[in-house]
């Protein structure tokens, strides 16, 4: 048995175990490292977190299946749970205050929030972890009952930003400061600031440090509305695009079939995949309108192009879809501009595949 507690080596071994769905081996690696004196926070953040990240990267590159992805995530989650269990699951005397950790409404990727909850708990906070799929009304009710020092909201997918904005405003309105984190909030947390979050943290350690420094309570009662933070919403483009998303998808599908007769040969499933891709494009377009930042849209398009190419779907189909969408959106100047910027970003893109991780399966 390898007793090394060097993180890189541990990451490699743990990845191997989770991708083979060998839960016993995975648990053994983690608990042995702990017994060999590895710091638990380092284990969570420098071993388990990178392995989970690899899961995402490998899926994107089409090197592992959906089943493997879910199984690996489930094993990682159980390992984190086993660490928490080992510490004793019950409430421990908290040396610091009380905080709530939750995912943004609609967010399914709960793992980063879970890790954060564990790290804060290790550092002596009393943590209420609400997990994924927490509807905003539950979250607000929880805050009323517990009156935490802060709420930490985690989001991975930018299309949940409008929901995140509503949650941020709701929490602040009842006097609870909001710290946000996760990829959804953009590079350097640029959209966190735009949505009026009290703080943004790049990772769990930064979040812990921010909490330790203290986050003042927002003045409650200042009835802030979405449009106060984001005056451009007044043009209604976001609202209208979101409302007409199903119609936009339908019309774009029909139009694409007109232009590319080959698409008419698509089977139900392939047609549905295309419709889903279009729905995602419109979703990201709408979110870019919401935060008024074209980078949100172009970054998504470039990522999608990589995903498609990893699955041997030519990325130029995206350009065609944008072209049709631009026609459908003739009444929306901001949206049309986004489609133009998206098209040119795809044009300048060098066709490389998803950056591979250090670990191969």
């Amino acid at each position: 048995m390898d007793h090394s507690i060097e993180p890189t080596a541990l990451v490699r071994r743990l990845w191997r175990a989770v991708v083979d769905a060998d839960e016993y081996a995975a648990a053994d690696i983690v608990h042995t490292a702990l017994a060999a004196g590895m710091d638990e926070e380092a284990l969570l953040l420098e071993v388990i977190a990178p392995v989970q990240e690899t899961v995402g990267v490998e899926w994107a590159a089409d090197r592992i299946s959906v089943a493997q992805e879910h199984a690996a995530t489930a094993i990682n989650e159980r390992i984190v749970a086993s660490l928490a269990h080992r510490r004793g699951g019950g409430p421990r005397p908290a040396r610091r205050g009380r905080v709530t950790v939750s995912c943004v409404d609609g967010e399914w990727h709960a793992f980063p929030a879970r890790l954060l909850a564990e790290v804060l708990s290790l550092r002596g906070w009393r943590v209420d972890y609400l997990g994924a799929q927490t509807p905003a009304p539950h979250m607000v009710a929880h805050l009323h009952l517990t009156d935490p020092d802060a709420i930490l909201l985690s989001g991975s997918i930018p299309t949940h930003l409008p929901a995140a904005h509503a949650a941020i405003t709701a929490c602040q309105a009842i006097g609870v400061p909001v710290l946000v984190g996760g990829r959804a909030f953009g590079p350097g947390g640029r959209w966190a600031r735009r949505l009026g979050a009290d703080r943004w943290a790049a990772d769990a350690r930064e979040a812990a440090a921010t909490l330790e420094a203290g986050v003042p309570r927002p003045a409650p009662s200042t009835a802030r509305q979405a449009v106060d933070d984001l005056p451009h919403l007044a043009d209604q483009e976001y609202t209208l695009v979101v409302q007409s998303r199903p119609r936009l998808v339908k019309q774009t599908l029909v139009e694409l079939e007109d232009r590319f007769p080959g698409m008419r040969e698509y089977g139900d499933e392939q047609r549905e995949r295309t419709a889903e891709d279009l729905a995602h494009i419109v979703g990201f377009l709408a979110t870019a309108l919401y935060v008024d930042d074209p980078d949100l849209f172009t970054a998504f398009l470039l990522w999608t192009a990589d995903i498609l190419e990893a699955r041997h779907v030519p990325a130029h189909s995206l350009v065609a879809a944008l072209d049709v969408l631009a026609d459908e959106l003739h009444d929306f100047p901001r949206a049309r501009r986004l489609t133009r910027l998206g098209t040119s970003a795809l044009g300048e893109r060098s066709p490389i595949s998803v950056p591979g991780p250090g670990v191969r399966t």
């Binding site: 209208l240 409302q243 007409s244 199903p246 119609r247």
Partner: protein, 132 residues
């Protein structure tokens, strides 16, 4: 610019001698099922002689959920109490499937045993008064 609103729920009934025909259109669900029960009960108690047969015509039904099925079971109780036989006509696949899975079609459409008032309808027996 907006998504098509769900189909409007409609109930239209007519009496053809000994038969009451009720055409049900749109979505029969949690929000609309009471309306159907009320209408059938009103019609059952409206005339001097209750119908021998109640036909629910589902030709224009677009959706039914468990609350809708619960309404059909309640209607069956009412029609049985009046000795009327229930018929479920022109059933769309969605209704057919629900009846199949829940195994209640035979029960709902069994010939009525003849009029019986009271009995299991204790406490909520259909009255003749208040008919419109």
């Amino acid at each position: 610019m907006t998504i098509t609103p769900p189909t409007e729920f409609t109930v239209v009934s007519r009496r053809e001698r000994a038969t009451l025909v009720v055409r049900v259109g749109g979505e029969l669900d949690y929000d609309t099922s009471d309306e159907l029960v009320d209408e059938v009960v009103r019609q059952l108690t409206a005339g001097q002689t209750p119908p021998a047969e109640v036909r629910l015509d589902f030709g224009a039904l677009t959706w039914i959920d468990s609350s809708g099925l619960s309404a059909l079971l309640m209607i069956h109780r009412r029609t049985s109490a009046f000795g009327a036989t229930l018929r479920l006509d022109d059933r769309p696949e969605i209704l057919e499937r629900l009846l199949r899975v829940t195994n209640v079609l035979d029960h709902l459409t069994a010939p009525a045993a003849g009029p019986r008032h009271g009995g299991t309808e204790r406490g909520e027996g259909v009255t003749e008064s208040g008919a419109t």
